[in-house]
């Protein structure tokens, strides 16, 4: 074991003695006062967990500009353009809204089929969109007056702030131009995907 670890070579290089480093001078630790209060029972503290979860690994087939097929939810079957992956791991996606009614939206990677069709998204700046942009607005506290119960039902339904509508328009403007450059792509994105007779998903190439 001594020979296998090469300790003899290290000693020979150091002149017959195993090299030894003196401990570095540590800065003097601050003086700690003894605590005033000791709890009666010893309570065990759980071990510290410093684990930070990483964002979901993005499938290699999904790159900015890929056309995705959404499989679940309100927009199931819709073909949609992928923009970027947010820090939470969800995918930022847009219809474009004018083509198929899907707004800027987050979607989970597991509920999506990636096709091999790509759209050119080089001109689009998506830096301002993150998970906070999509957070629900905190609701105002409703007063509990009885007479106001029936009226409060007619409160403004969640109107989309004009800012979000403008964001949608800017992102979609350049997207729609590159989509119209490819023949039939606009109709393709406007149509929903469905399995027809004879289609075997495990044999289909997407």
């Amino acid at each position: 074991m001594y020979h296998k670890r090469g300790l003899w070579a290290i000693k020979a290089k150091n002149g017959g003695v195993f090299p030894k480093h003196d401990p570095k001078p540590k800065p003097a630790a601050p003086v700690e006062k003894p605590p005033k209060f000791y709890p009666a029972d010893d309570v065990k503290k759980p071990l510290l967990n410093k684990r930070k979860p990483k964002p979901t690994k993005l499938r290699a087939s999904i790159t900015p500009g890929t056309v995705l097929i959404i499989l679940a939810g309100r927009f199931k079957g819709k073909r949609v353009v992928f923009l970027k992956q947010l820090s939470s791991g969800l995918l930022l996606v847009t219809g474009p809204f004018k083509i198929n009614g899907v707004p800027l939206r987050r979607v989970n990677q597991s509920y999506v089929i990636a096709t091999s069709t790509k759209v050119d998204v080089s001109g689009i700046n998506v830096d301002k969109f993150d998970d906070k942009y999509f957070a629900k607005q905190a609701e105002k506290k409703k007063k509990k007056g009885e007479g106001e119960f029936f009226e409060s039902e007619k409160e403004e339904k969640n109107v989309l702030p004009q800012e979000k509508k403008d964001d949608q328009k800017t992102v979609d403007a350049s997207l729609i131009k590159s989509i119209e450059g490819v023949p039939d792509l606009k109709a393709y994105l406007g149509a929903r995907f469905s399995l027809k007779a004879g289609m075997k998903p495990h044999e289909l190439v997407f």
Partner: protein, 133 residues
């Protein structure tokens, strides 16, 4: 009713089972009642059960167990590749492969093209019916 495609030296066959599925090979020798020695320009010469082979109409002129070079020359002379790709069987296989490799977008474009073609045919038919009436 009698057999038309015989197992003989030089018969081109299609492999229908196994690792070499879908390849065209030439029967180069017969080993026994069940197996043949089979060779193709891009594979190592090996034995195969006859049950794994589907005989084609194509036959090339070679002697028993030719050298690889001679085999390739004979295949070029008989123009096996073009004969196969122009035969109805070969064309069917090519179409099947093309259909299987279609993208989702390609399938959509295909649907649009079929609808368009159907529309044109129906228009022509309506015209002809009107003339006949």
């Amino acid at each position: 009713m009698p057999f038309k495609r015989y197992v003989e030296i030089g018969r081109v066959a299609l492999v229908n089972y196994g690792k070499e599925y879908g390849k065209l090979v030439v029967i180069v020798d017969v080993i026994d009642q069940n197996r043949a020695l089979v060779d193709a320009p891009d594979m190592v010469r090996s034995q195969m059960n006859f049950k794994r082979l589907s005989l084609t109409d194509i036959k090339i002129d070679i002697k028993r167990v030719p050298k690889k070079k001679t085999l390739i020359e004979a295949m070029e002379k008989a123009d096996v590749k073009n004969k196969w790709e122009n035969s109805s069987w070969g064309r069917k296989l090519i179409v099947q492969k093309r259909r299987a490799s279609l993208n989702d977008f390609d399938r959509f474009k295909l649907m649009l093209a079929k609808i368009k073609r159907g529309g044109i045919i129906r228009q022509e038919l309506a015209k002809l019916k009107k003339e006949a009436a």
